[in-house]
């Protein structure tokens, strides 16, 4: 019980005492007893106050600070729980969805959640996915219900500064696209003049749609749903002429349509959508862990290390690789992790290229070209700072 509530309790007790005292004169025995209780509690209160004073003197957080601090100690919380809680998606195949065959969450974002679990707990399967809608994802992160949000979330300035959260390195460089029916003969956004567009609420796409169409003077009617499945169903049923979301999302939703080949995604890209993980603002250590986990997968791909050959690099000569895999140096200790954290990530989940190929690559229904999501050495945007 903290100071405030204790003093409050004393107050209420005193009130009760007065009530009892007024109730009858022959209750003096009880009154005395209650008075003794009050004295006892007051003593406790004094002790608590003294303790607080001592804490304040030694520079420890003041007692007024929130007791169940949702910031600052995510790593301890995760370790104590033994499970990493990720905010994810359940309706975007390729990124985050429930595989109907295995009933497990699978996808690109889910793999990054596994990577963080491998780094923080040493076990990629110690994860729990909390599926969220676009609207509820931020409150869920803010409230501490999840440890990290990995759910196709676009990095924007206002989100970074106003939501009490920090963005970690982009895992997927995307842009907003528009899906239309092939039969409608729509070749550009201008052809959608006067049309109806299905969009999910609480997304950057919802804002971009309004901005881009307003800037180009195209009038449209939005049909807004809170849920990705409903949005797609409404489009598919013919409620909308266009369906807009990130291009990767469109590719993934397309395979869920009854006749995927009857729909096309327009060439035009309406915006920049860098998608990445999000952590709570204020817990820099946890933010570092997520950031360097992503970097670890990129660096591993650059160095040619993957889950199959990582063991062959152990005990090698290259100091950069020895550092990365934690055989030399103490890169993990700085973040409160074991030194082989990056080894665990690569071994259990794989490097960036493997994660991409597994979920979006040529052997998947999506067959998305790497494009911007290639290593900087291959003309892409993926670039990890050095592991030193």
């Amino acid at each position: 019980m903290n100071k405030k509530s204790l003093s409050f309790f004393v107050m209420v007790l005193m009130l009760a005492l007065t009530l009892v005292a007024c109730g009858g004169a022959d209750d003096s025995g009880q009154v005395a007893e209650l008075q003794a209780q009050v004295a006892d509690l007051q003593a406790q209160l004094a002790a608590a106050q003294a303790a607080t004073g001592a804490q304040a003197a030694t520079g420890a957080p003041a007692a007024d600070a929130p007791a169940p601090a949702p910031t600052g100690d995510t790593l301890q919380t995760v370790r104590a729980r033994g499970v990493l809680k990720c905010g994810g998606n359940q309706a975007v195949p390729g990124f985050g969805y429930i595989n109907p065959d295995t009933n497990d969450f699978e996808g690109f974002d889910i793999d990054f959640c596994k990577a963080v679990a491998a780094a923080a707990l040493g076990d990629a399967n110690a994860i729990e996915i909390r599926p969220t809608t676009a609207n509820e994802r931020f409150p869920v992160l803010q409230s501490g219900e999840i440890d990290v949000l990995i759910r196709n979330t676009t990095w924007t300035l206002s989100r970074d500064t106003q939501l009490g959260a920090d963005f970690q390195p982009t895992t997927f460089y995307d842009g907003q696209g528009m899906m239309v029916r092939r039969a409608d003969n729509i070749n550009s956004l201008e052809d959608l003049e006067g049309g109806t567009i299905c969009v999910q609420s609480g997304t950057t796409t919802e804002k971009n749609l309004a901005d881009v169409f307003r800037a180009r003077g195209i009038s449209f009617q939005p049909v807004v749903f809170d849920d990705a499945d409903r949005t797609r169903e409404a489009y598919e049923a013919g409620q909308c002429d266009g369906f807009t979301t990130d291009k990767s999302g469109l590719v993934s939703q397309q395979i869920l349509l009854a006749e995927p080949e009857a729909h096309v995604i327009l060439e035009e890209t309406m915006s920049k959508e860098p998608l990445g993980p999000m952590t709570r603002h204020g817990d820099n250590n946890w933010g570092d862990i997520v950031m360097w986990t992503v970097n670890c997968t990129i660096e591993a791909e650059e160095l040619g290390i993957n889950s199959a050959n990582v063991d062959s690099f152990l005990g090698g000569e290259n100091p950069v690789i020895q550092n990365l895999l934690g055989e030399t140096g103490d890169l993990g200790a700085g973040m409160g992790l074991s030194n082989d954290w990056c080894y665990q990530v690569i071994k259990q989940v794989g490097n960036y290229g493997e994660i991409y190929a597994r979920n979006l690559g040529p052997n998947t229904p999506f067959n998305l070209p790497r494009g911007s999501n290639n290593l900087w050495t291959e003309g892409g945007l993926l670039y990890s700072p050095p592991f030193r």
Binding site: L13, F138, E233, A234, G238
Partner: protein, 538 residues
């Protein structure tokens, strides 16, 4: 020796306080209040610490204050809203977006309450019918809708019924009237008020005054001659004559409307325009264009190429006024709409259309911007009231009034669900009136309608109104399920606002305050009514 009475015990055995009912009662209450207050203070503490972390109550000067927490309402919302009672664009602030949502909630609750009351009353009476089919149909309806979740019903109505209506290009058009029913909603003609409506309204008022005078005079005369002179009929006739005269006057004398004609149109008066189109189509009678297309003598593309192209401002009455006159001549036309008059004028100057329709004064004012091109100004006729007819242009219907599928689904769902509850309340109310009351009314010689109106209903209403109030409240609050079918109600828009602005606490305060005030208003109104009909006890 006097017998001593037995000694009174010096010390009475006292009940320990933990077995004293009075003390335990007080203690239990104190404990309960303490726990409630502790819980509340823990929650408040949590909220305030979260607010501190988020910094969402921060003022521009760096301090935290409750007032500053709501400054975000002035920021641009930047998201679009599908339907709105008032004007709204994405550059309007969050505050206006929330108002738009609140008005949408009021809209659906208002119509919902009216329709649910009608449906519920009819069903409630039907359940008491002696006709087996009627009473059982009512019973099945009530049982079905009352015992399934509303959310499920909404999903079914939206995804299972409305979205399975025909595609917009194959919209159902009953009896060839300009009413269209498709999966994009229901499009019906809507009235457009022209500036001269004011003149006509004056005539309507005058006509009403004349009608009253006629009625009074005739009534007096009726009393003198003691026979009916059809005073109602004559006063209605007087009203119609004045109204018709006013319509013609307003039509003929006043016109604020005009068009700009480009040089490519060799027209000197409005009547030339249909002829020009007819010539372009090879001299065909315009009334026969549709049959010609149907018979294959003309192609749709030829008609479209010959159609008059009109530049107009979106949602302006000028377009409806011009279109109505072109429709009367069966002249095909195509409209290019712009957001503002200067944009429309620029499109006209760029040769994107042959006509620019607007109010005459606006056209004269914008002539300055049209230097360098040749054009003529032509005033055109105007009627006080025009109808905007929905036309399939491009991807959607333009013009008229649109009932969106989301609104339709939500309204139907709420009405069917709440109507089932109201039906039971009405039935209970009617059954609560003792049979003897009806028998006594009949014995007194009251007619059936008098019996219902004067004896049964006043007594039934006393039973009906209090539970009816809570059904109205339920309907209003259940309208927040709108988010499931994509209707932009208060909660749906607030939820988006919450997400885009990252201020959950403030948004929840606003939403709770709004729903609370809706509910209190409804309760207040119905309580007033309830007081009026309540049994007066002396």
């Amino acid at each position: 020796m006097a017998q001593h009475p037995p000694p009174i015990p010096q010390h009475q055995e006292r009940i320990p306080f933990w077995r004293d009912g009075r003390v335990l009662g007080v203690l239990a209450q104190v404990l309960f209040v303490t726990m409630v207050l502790l819980g509340a203070s823990w929650l408040l503490n949590n909220v305030s610490s979260n607010i501190g972390t988020l910094g969402s109550f921060r003022c521009p000067d760096g301090t935290d204050s409750f007032r500053c927490g709501f400054l975000f309402l002035q920021i641009d919302a930047q998201f679009d809203i599908a339907e709105s009672v008032v004007d709204y664009t994405p550059s309007d602030p969050y505050a206006r977006a929330i108002v738009v949502g609140a008005l949408n909630t009021v809209k659906v609750a208002f119509f919902g309450i009216i329709l649910a009351t009608i449906l519920g009353t009819l069903t409630g009476i039907a359940r008491l019918s002696r006709n087996w089919l009627v009473s059982n149909l009512a019973k099945w309806y009530v049982d079905f809708f009352r015992n399934t979740p509303l959310l499920l019903q909404l999903f079914f109505i939206y995804f299972g019924v409305i979205l399975l209506l025909p595609n917009i290009r194959e919209a159902i058009q009953p009896f060839g009237l300009p009413f269209y029913l498709s999966q994009r909603g229901i499009n019906i003609p809507g009235p457009v008020f022209m500036p001269s409506l004011r003149v006509w309204l004056l005539f309507l008022l005058g006509g009403a005054a004349v009608a009253v005078v006629v009625w009074l005079l005739l009534a007096r005369r009726e009393r003198q001659v003691e026979r009916s002179l059809n005073s109602t009929r004559w006063s209605l006739l007087a009203f119609s004559v004045v109204a018709a005269a006013g319509w013609l006057m307003a039509n003929a004398a006043i016109s604020s409307q005009a068009i700009l004609l480009s040089e490519t149109l060799p027209a000197t008066e409005f009547a030339d325009l249909p002829e020009i189109v007819a010539q372009r189509l090879g001299g065909i009678e315009l009334a026969e264009v549709e049959t010609a297309v149907a018979e294959g003598r003309l192609t749709r593309d030829q008609v479209n190429a010959a159609a008059l192209t009109i530049c107009a401002v979106r949602d302006a009455p000028s377009e409806a006024n011009l279109a109505a006159q072109l429709r009367a001549d069966d002249a095909p036309y195509v409209v290019k709409r712009s957001g503002r008059l200067d944009q429309a004028a620029r499109a006209f100057a760029a040769g994107e259309c042959e006509l620019l329709a607007a109010a005459e004064s606006d056209l004269i004012a914008s002539q300055a911007a049209l230097t360098g091109i040749a054009y003529r100004l032509l005033p055109i006729a105007e009627a006080p009231l025009r109808f905007s007819i929905p036309r399939l242009e491009g991807l959607n219907f333009q013009g008229g009034i649109k009932l969106t599928p989301s609104f339709a689904a939500l309204l139907i769902g709420l009405v069917l669900y709440t109507g089932a509850f109201i039906a039971e309340i009405v039935r209970a109310g009617i059954q609560s009136v003792p049979k003897g009351q009806s028998e006594a009314a009949r014995a007194l010689g009251l007619t059936e309608s008098q019996r219902l109106r004067l004896v049964v209903l006043p007594q039934a209403l006393r039973v009906i109104i209090p539970p009816l109030t809570s059904q109205y409240l339920n309907l209003t609050k259940n309208s927040s399920l709108a988010i499931a079918v994509g209707y932009a109600d208060l909660w749906a828009i607030s939820y988006t606002t919450l997400n885009q602005s990252g201020r959950p606490v403030q948004v929840f305060i606003i939403v709770m305050a709004a729903y609370l005030s809706f509910s209190l208003l409804i309760s207040f109104l119905l309580n007033q009514y309830n007081r009026r009909i309540a049994l007066v006890e002396r």
